[in-house]
C-alpha cells in the first residue's frame, strides 16, 4: 500500500490530490475577484484581473507543492527556516521601505517579503521540531526553550520592521503548534500568566507610537474621530448600512464614495457586507469555515506528527488571518493591517496562502509515506 502510493504515476497522484480543498480555495479566490471588481468600481484592470491571474499562477504553485513528497518538506524545514531568518536580517539591513515599514527585499525580478516566507517556515520548523523531539521533553525546560527560540527569533525581527500584525500571527501560530504538540497545561497556565505581566510592558516599550495609537484608538474610538479610528468607524458604517440583504452588487455608497480606505485590500470585507449584507457576510464566513474544517479533517488523516502539525499549523495561520481581519473590520480588534486571505488584493499573501495549501495537500497526499521515525 505504501509502495504503491509512493511509486504511483503522476496522473494517479494528481488524481489523488484532495480536489475538494482545491475547489473550495478556488471558490474563495473567485469571491475575491468579484469583490475586488466591485471595490474598483467595476474596472477590471484595477485589480480583479490581476487577482485572477495571481490565483491561477499561485494555484499552479499549490499543485506543484502538493506533488512534492512531504519528506522533502520535512528535510527542507530547518533550511527554509534559517533561510527565512537570513532574509529577515537582510531586509533589516537593506530592505525597501514602503509606508514607513521596511518589509520588502528588492531582488530585481521580484519583491520579496521575508516575513511571508517566515509564516510558512515557522510552521515547518516547529512541526519538524516536535516531530523530532522525544515526547517526554516537550514540557521540559530544554524542550520548551528550543520552541521558544524558534518562535521568538522571527518575532523579534518582524517586530523591528515594524509589522505588528505578522508578529502576532507568527507568535500565535507558534504557540498553537506547541499547544497541539502537547505542552502540558501547567506550562500553558504559566505562559498565560507571564504574558499578562509582559503585555503592558510590551505595549509601553515594544511598540512604535503609531501602533500604540492604533490600539488606544481601538479601545476608545472617540479619541481621534478623523484619524486612526476613521477606518473602524467608516468600516462599521459600511457593514451596518448593508443590513440583512445588502445594497446590491455594485451599489454600495460607502464604497462608491470611497469612505472606506483600502477597501480593495484589507477592508474588502466591508464591500461584501455593504453590498451583500448579513447573508453575503455569513456565506463568506461559511466558506472559510468549510475550508478550515476540511483542513482539520485532512490533518486527522495524517500519520506523522510532522504532517499533522504542518497541516494544523498552516490552518491556524490561515484562520488567524481571517479572525484578525474580520475582527478589525467589525471593530472588535485594532487596525493592524492583516488582509483577508485569498479575497484581499495583494500578491504576496496569495502566494503564501496558496503555498500553504500546497503543503497541506502534500501532507495529505503523502500521508502514508515514511518519514524519519519520531522519538515518541
Amino acid at each position: 500500500m505504501n509502495t504503491l502510493s509512493s511509486k504511483a504515476g503522476l496522473t494517479t497522484k494528481l488524481y489523488e490530490i484532495n480536489w475538494l480543498l482545491v475547489a473550495l480555495v478556488s471558490l474563495v479566490g473567485l469571491v475575491g475577484v468579484v469583490m475586488i471588481f466591485a471595490a474598483t468600481d467595476g474596472v477590471w484592470s484595477r485589480g480583479a484581473q490581476q487577482h485572477l491571474i495571481r490565483l491561477i499562477v499561485a494555484g499552479g504553485l499549490m499543485i506543484s507543492v502538493a506533488m512534492v513528497d512531504v519528506k522533502v518538506w520535512y528535510t527542507l524545514a530547518y533550511p527554509a527556516y534559517i533561510g527565512a531568518l537570513v532574509l529577515l536580517v537582510a531586509v533589516d539591513v537593506m530592505g525597501v521601505s514602503v509606508n514607513g515599514s521596511q518589509r520588502w527585499l528588492d531582488l530585481q525580478f521580484i519583491r520579496l517579503q521575508p516575513s511571508e516566507i517566515m509564516k510558512l517556515a515557522i510552521v515547518l520548523a516547529l512541526a519538524r521540531y516536535y516531530h523530532d523531539l522525544p515526547k517526554w521533553r516537550i514540557s521540559r525546560f530544554f524542550g520548551l526553550l528550543g520552541a521558544a527560540i524558534l518562535i521568538l527569533l522571527p518575532m523579534a525581527l518582524i517586530l523591528r520592521q515594524p509589522d505588528l500584525g505578522t508578529t502576532l500571527l507568527v507568535a500565535a501560530t507558534g504557540v498553537a503548534i506547541a499547544f497541539l504538540a502537547g505542552v502540558n497545561w501547567r506550562v500553558i497556565g504559566g505562559a498565560a500568566l507571564a504574558s499578562t505581566v509582559a503585555l503592558p510592558l510590551f505595549f509601553r516599550f515594544g511598540l512604535k507610537e503609531y501602533q500604540r495609537s492604533r490600539i488606544l484608538t481601538f479601545l476608545d474610538p472617540s479619541r481621534d474621530p478623523t484619524g486612526a479610528s476613521y477606518h473602524i468607524t467608516q468600516s462599521k458604517i459600511a457593514l451596518g448600512s448593508g443590513g440583512v440583504s445588502g445594497k446590491g452588487f455594485m451599489n454600495g455608497t460607502q464604497r462608491q464614495l470611497e469612505y472606506v480606505p483600502e477597501n480593495r485590500t484589507d477592508f474588502i470585507f466591508t464591500v461584501i457586507g455593504e453590498e451583500f449584507g448579513l447573508i453575503g457576510s455569513l456565506l463568506t464566513m461559511g466558506l472559510y469555515m468549510l475550508v478550515i474544517g476540511l483542513c482539520i479533517w485532512l490533518s486527522t488523516q495524517c500519520k506523522h506528527v510532522f504532517s499533522r502539525l504542518l497541516v494544523l499549523g498552516l490552518t491556524t495561520t490561515f484562520t488567524l488571518y481571517i479572525f484578525i481581519n474580520l475582527g478589525m473590520v467589525m471593530g472588535l480588534a485594532p487596525v493592524v493591517g492583516v488582509p483577508l486571505p485569498l479575497i484581499s488584493y495583494g500578491g504576496t499573501v496569495i502566494l503564501t496562502v496558496m503555498t500553504g495549501f500546497g503543503l497541506i495537500l502534500s501532507a495529505h497526499l503523502h500521508r502514508k509515506n515514511e518519514l524519519p521515525r519520531s522519538h515518541s
Binding site: G240, M285, M330
Partner: protein
C-alpha cells in the same frame, strides 16, 4: 498505525477547533449586531456620509437710483477657497497655492485665523478678485491640491468712482459682533459680505436675501459628487433697494465741486425726497469689499479733506448768514418787529464791553429788513436778535429743522446744535450772554448745522406750509408731514427777501447772475462761515483775504436756495469747506445744480418776469 500518540493531538485539535468555532460565533453575532440590530443607525450614518448641507448665498440686491441706474451691483468674482477638513497640511497647501497666487503674510495669518474660527467643512476664502490668468492657473493645479476650490462667486461692485460712497456705504466680512447679533447662518460663511455702513448696512436684511440649503452628495474627500436641490431650500435673492437719488444730478454736482471739500443736499420741496446727497471728496467703496490695504487706509486717514467723513449728514458747520432767515422769521412771528423798521449799519456795534462787527467794510448805511437779508447786514440782525431774544430764535430754528437728526434710513445723520440758554446751562454750565445771542443771530457761535439741515430749511421755507422731512429710501413708509405753523405772510416776506439776494442788483448772490437759471428765478441766501478768530489788530489794519490764508483757516462757503422762485420744486443746502465767501463757490454750485435739477425734471419755464411785482 500512527507512529505517535494520536490522542493528545486530536484532543488539542478539538479544543482549538472548538475555540475557532467560538470565534466564528462571536464574529457572526457581531455581524448580526451591526447588520440587523444597528442596521438602521448605520444606514442613517451612511446617508450622513453621503449628504452634506451646504449653505448657498443668494445674490445681494442691487441699489438703484430713482431712475433705475445701478449704484451697487454684483459682479462676477473669481476667487479661490479652501475647505480645511479636506486639506491634509494647510501650510504645504498654502505654499503650493502661493506658487501660482502670491499670498502675503497678512493674508496667510487671516486664513489661519479663519480656519481656527470655523468648522472644518466651511470654505475659507484664500483670495478673491483674481484675474483670469491666475484663476485658470489655479484650476489647472487643483487635482494636486485637495480641498482647494477655485470658484466663481459674486462680489459687490460700486460703479461711479465713489460718488455715492457715503450714502451707499460698503460691504465687508462679518465680524464677531455681527455674528453675535444675528444668527443667520450666512454670516458664518467666510465668503459672505455684510453691509457695514450706509444703505448697505441699513437695508442689509432686505438686500441680503435668505440663505439656501443645498443637499449635496459628497465623497470621502469632500468633493461634491451630486447635488440634490430641493425647491423649499432654495436661496432667496435679496431685494433691490431704490433710492430717491438722481445719479446723474449727483455726478454733475460732484463735478462742480472739483477738488473741493464739502457737502451738498438737493431736496424735493414737496415730498422731501433727496435727489442728491453728496459729500466731497469721496472714496472708492470697492476698496473695502475685499479688505483695505494698509496703504489705502493711511491715504484715507491722512487726507486733510477727510474723504471718509460724511460731511453732508455728519458735518456740523456754523450756518453763518444762511441762519438769518430763521432770525428774521422769529422776529416777524414775535410781532415785536416792524418790517419797515430801519437801522444804521456803521460796521460796528458795541454790546457790553465788546465790539461786534459787520462783514462789510464801512458798513451798509441805512437798511430795512429786506435790505438786511439781501445784503446780509450783520448789524441789523445783531439788533433784531437782541430785541427778540435767543429763545424765540432757537424755537424758530427748530421749526426750520435745526438741531434735528432726521431719520433718512441710514446712520450717520447728526443733529448739529440749536443752542438756547437752557442748552448752554446744561452743556457748559454757565449762563447765556447777550454776546451769545448776537453770535447766534448771524449763525455763528454755538450754532452748528449740517448741509442736509440747510437743504431742509430752504425746503421748508420754499414749501411754506409743511415741515418737510427728508427721505432717501423709496418705499419707506413716511410719517405724515406736520404743519410748519408759521404765518404764510411772514414766509412770503422771507421768500421775497431771498429772491432779492439772487435776482436783484446789490444782492449778495446777484453777482453770479450771468450764469443764472434759464427761464426761472431762484431764491437763496449766502453764508460765509468763519473758522478763525479775527484779531482787533488785523481788523484795524486790513482783513487778510481768504486766498492769502492757509486752506484750513479759510472761511466756509455756504449757500442755501431753491427754485423756481414761483412754484418751487427743489431746495439745496451746500457747504464748500474753506471755499471762501458764500457768494462765490457755494452759490455758483447751487445755481448750476438747481438749473440741472429743473432741466432733468422737465419743468418748462413759465413767465416769471412779474414774479417780483406779485410777491411784493
Amino acid at each position: 498505525m500512527a507512529d505517535f500518540d494520536e490522542g493528545i493531538i486530536t484532543r488539542r485539535t478539538a479544543i482549538l477547533g472548538a475555540g475557532g468555532l467560538g470565534v466564528f460565533g462571536v464574529l457572526a453575532s457581531r455581524l448580526y449586531y451591526l447588520q440587523v440590530v444597528k442596521a438602521e443607525d448605520y444606514r442613517v450614518l451612511s446617508d450622513d456620509n453621503r449628504f452634506n448641507f451646504n449653505i448657498t448665498i443668494p445674490s445681494r440686491g442691487r441699489i438703484l437710483d430713482r431712475f433705475g441706474e445701478n449704484l451697487a451691483v454684483n459682479s462676477q468674482d473669481y476667487r479661490v477657497v479652501m475647505v480645511p477638513e479636506q486639506v491634509k497640511d494647510v501650510d504645504a497647501t498654502l505654499k503650493r497655492v502661493s506658487e501660482v497666487l502670491p499670498l502675503n503674510d497678512k493674508t496667510i495669518k487671516r486664513i489661519k485665523k479663519d480656519i481656527r474660527e470655523h468648522a472644518g467643512f466651511v470654505p475659507i476664502l484664500i483670495d478673491d478678485h483674481l484675474d483670469w490668468k491666475t484663476f485658470s492657473a489655479l484650476n489647472l493645479n487643483i487635482p494636486d491640491l485637495p480641498g482647494v476650490i477655485p470658484e466663481v462667486g459674486e462680489g459687490r461692485f460700486y460703479p461711479n468712482e465713489g460718488i455715492f460712497a457715503h450714502t451707499l456705504g460698503y460691504v465687508g466680512r462679518a465680524d464677531p459682533r455681527d455674528v453675535q447679533k444675528d444668527d443667520d447662518p450666512m454670516l458664518r460663511q467666510p465668503t459672505f459680505r455684510i453691509g457695514k455702513t450706509g444703505v448697505e448696512a441699513a437695508a442689509d436684511k432686505i438686500l441680503r436675501g435668505a440663505a439656501g440649503k443645498l443637499k449635496v452628495e459628497v465623497n470621502a474627500l469632500g468633493r461634491v459628487v451630486r447635488e440634490w436641490p430641493e425647491p423649499k431650500d432654495k436661496a432667496v435673492d435679496g431685494k433691490d433697494i431704490w433710492l430717491t437719488i438722481d445719479a446723474e444730478l449727483q455726478r454733475y454736482a460732484a463735478e462742480l465741486f472739483e477738488e473741493d471739500s464739502g457737502g451738498i443736499a438737493v431736496i424735493d420741496v414737496m415730498t422731501g425726497e433727496l435727489r442728491t446727497l453728496l459729500s466731497m471728496p469721496t472714496f472708492d467703496g470697492n476698496m473695502f469689499v475685499s479688505g483695505l490695504t494698509q496703504q489705502d487706509m493711511n491715504r484715507l486717514n491722512n487726507d486733510e479733506k477727510r474723504p471718509q467723513y460724511n460731511k453732508v449728514l455728519s458735518g456740523g458747520y456754523p450756518p453763518a448768514s444762511t441762519f438769518k432767515m430763521a432770525v428774521m422769521l422769529a422776529g416777524l412771528e414775535s410781532e415785536l418787529i416792524n418790517v419797515e423798521g430801519k437801522t444804521v449799519c456803521t460796521q460796528k456795534i458795541r454790546v457790553g464791553n465788546r465790539n461786534f462787527h459787520c462783514w462789510k467794510r464801512g458798513g451798509h448805511g441805512l437798511v430795512d429788513m429786506r435790505d438786511a437779508l439781501k445784503q446780509s447786514c450783520d448789524i441789523y440782525f445783531y439788533e433784531l436778535g437782541q430785541i427778540i431774544g435767543m429763545d424765540r430764535i432757537a424755537q424758530m430754528g427748530r421749526k426750520l429743522g435745526f438741531g434735528t437728526a432726521f431719520d433718512i434710513g441710514i446712520s450717520g445723520v447728526k443733529s448739529g446744535i440749536m443752542p438756547d440758554p437752557a442748552w448752554k446751562q446744561a452743556k457748559l454750565g454757565n449762563g447765556w450772554r447777550t454776546g451769545d445771542t448776537l453770535n447766534a443771530s448771524i449763525g455763528q457761535g454755538f450754532v452748528l448745522a449740517t448741509p442736509l439741515q440747510l437743504a431742509v430749511m430752504a425746503g421748508r421755507l420754499a414749501n411754506g406750509r409743511k415741515a418737510l422731512v427728508p427721505n432717501l429710501l423709496i418705499g419707506q413708509t413716511l410719517p405724515e408731514m406736520e404743519d410748519l405753523d408759521i404765518n404764510p405772510e411772514h414766509i412770503a416776506i422771507v421768500q421775497d427777501a431771498m429772491w432779492s439776494v439772487c435776482e436783484e442788483p446789490g444782492g449778495t448772490a446777484y453777482r453770479d447772475n450771468g450764469v443764472g437759471i434759464k427761464g426761472f428765478d431762484m431764491a437763496g441766501k449766502t453764508g460765509t462761515g468763519q473758522v478763525r478768530g479775527i484779531s482787533t489788530s488785523e481788523r484795524l489794519s486790513r482783513l487778510r483775504r481768504n486766498e492769502e490764508l492757509p486752506w484750513k483757516l479759510r472761511d466756509h462757503s455756504i449757500f442755501v436756495g431753491y427754485a423756481p422762485y414761483k412754484n418751487p420744486r427743489f431746495a439745496v443746502g451746500c457747504i464748500v469747506e474753506h471755499g471762501g465767501s458764500g457768494s462765490k463757490r457755494a452759490a455758483s454750485i447751487v445755481r448750476s445744480v438747481l438749473n440741472k435739477a429743473l432741466e432733468r425734471d422737465g419743468i418748462k419755464p413759465v413767465t416769471e418776469a412779474k414774479t417780483r411785482e406779485q410777491s411784493l
